[in-house]
Symmetry: C2
Subunit: 126 residues, 2 copies
DNA sequence: CCGCATCCTATGGGATACTG
DNA sequence: CAGTATCCCATAGGATGCGG
């Protein structure tokens, strides 16, 4: 109890595990990545991220807001306008999230090649 | 223009989206993180990652192997010994994955605080 | 335009038991 | 030790329709 406050993602009940879990979500990662250049409106995000449903977007945004990673601003226009943006806390994430997304784009070829090699060997065993 | 066939994680059918999806998995992230210091045996990984089931571990390892991110080495001892390790490709990921895990550990307090504030406000509205 | 509510299916993932 | 195979349930998440 004295000096055990170091958090560890490998521990089952550590809050850090929970946080990592939130981040380990493709939709969340894509949303965060989409917000890195400034506030974006709901339907704009939705259009940017191909394939996301309105429900999932809504849910994910709310979770991220609850986590203090993004903020939600409502403008009383008619009809209403809502903008989502990264909070300062959220900004500390952009680099990392960006890195992950870029890794995916950069090494995709290698991954696809590896998959084909694997399947051609005995992975595709039937 | 020169290099426009750049893949885009925001595109629905882009392979990069698939790769990101693979990475956006808390178990995969934890496994990769656990392998960053060298080869580890199956049950050892399992013990290190609290709460992972043997089924999920097995599945995730296989996927990562298929993706060429980790390698699997079998030693014909009795009983058999199997070691998992990062491939060169996998090594290019460690920094990023590490960053994500560290972010979770470092900013967990802020996240938890944000959650409580959110719930105390109107998030907990019933 | 923003987003909640509902329905419904597919999948993730835990527990358990068995093989090489 | 290192898995594979089942069973089985909880949840994710798509589709659709309504309300502010």
């Amino acid at each position: 109890m004295t000096t055990q406050p170091i958090y560890d993602v490998f521990e089952n009940h550590c809050p850090a595990r929970m946080v990592l879990d939130r981040l380990a979500d493709k939709w969340a990662l894509l949303i965060l990545n989409g917000l890195k250049d400034g506030p974006v409106r709901f339907n704009s995000i939705r259009r940017n991220i191909k394939g996301i449903s309105q429900k999932v977007l809504s849910q994910t945004l709310k979770k991220l807001e609850r986590d203090g990673i993004i903020s939600r601003a409502v403008f009383p226009t008619v009809p209403v306008t809502v903008e989502y943006a990264l909070t300062p806390l959220g900004h500390t994430l952009t680099e990392t999230v960006d890195a992950l997304a870029h890794w995916a784009e950069d090494h995709m070829d290698s991954v696809v090649a590896a998959q084909q090699a694997y399947d051609a060997a005995d992975g595709g065993r039937v």
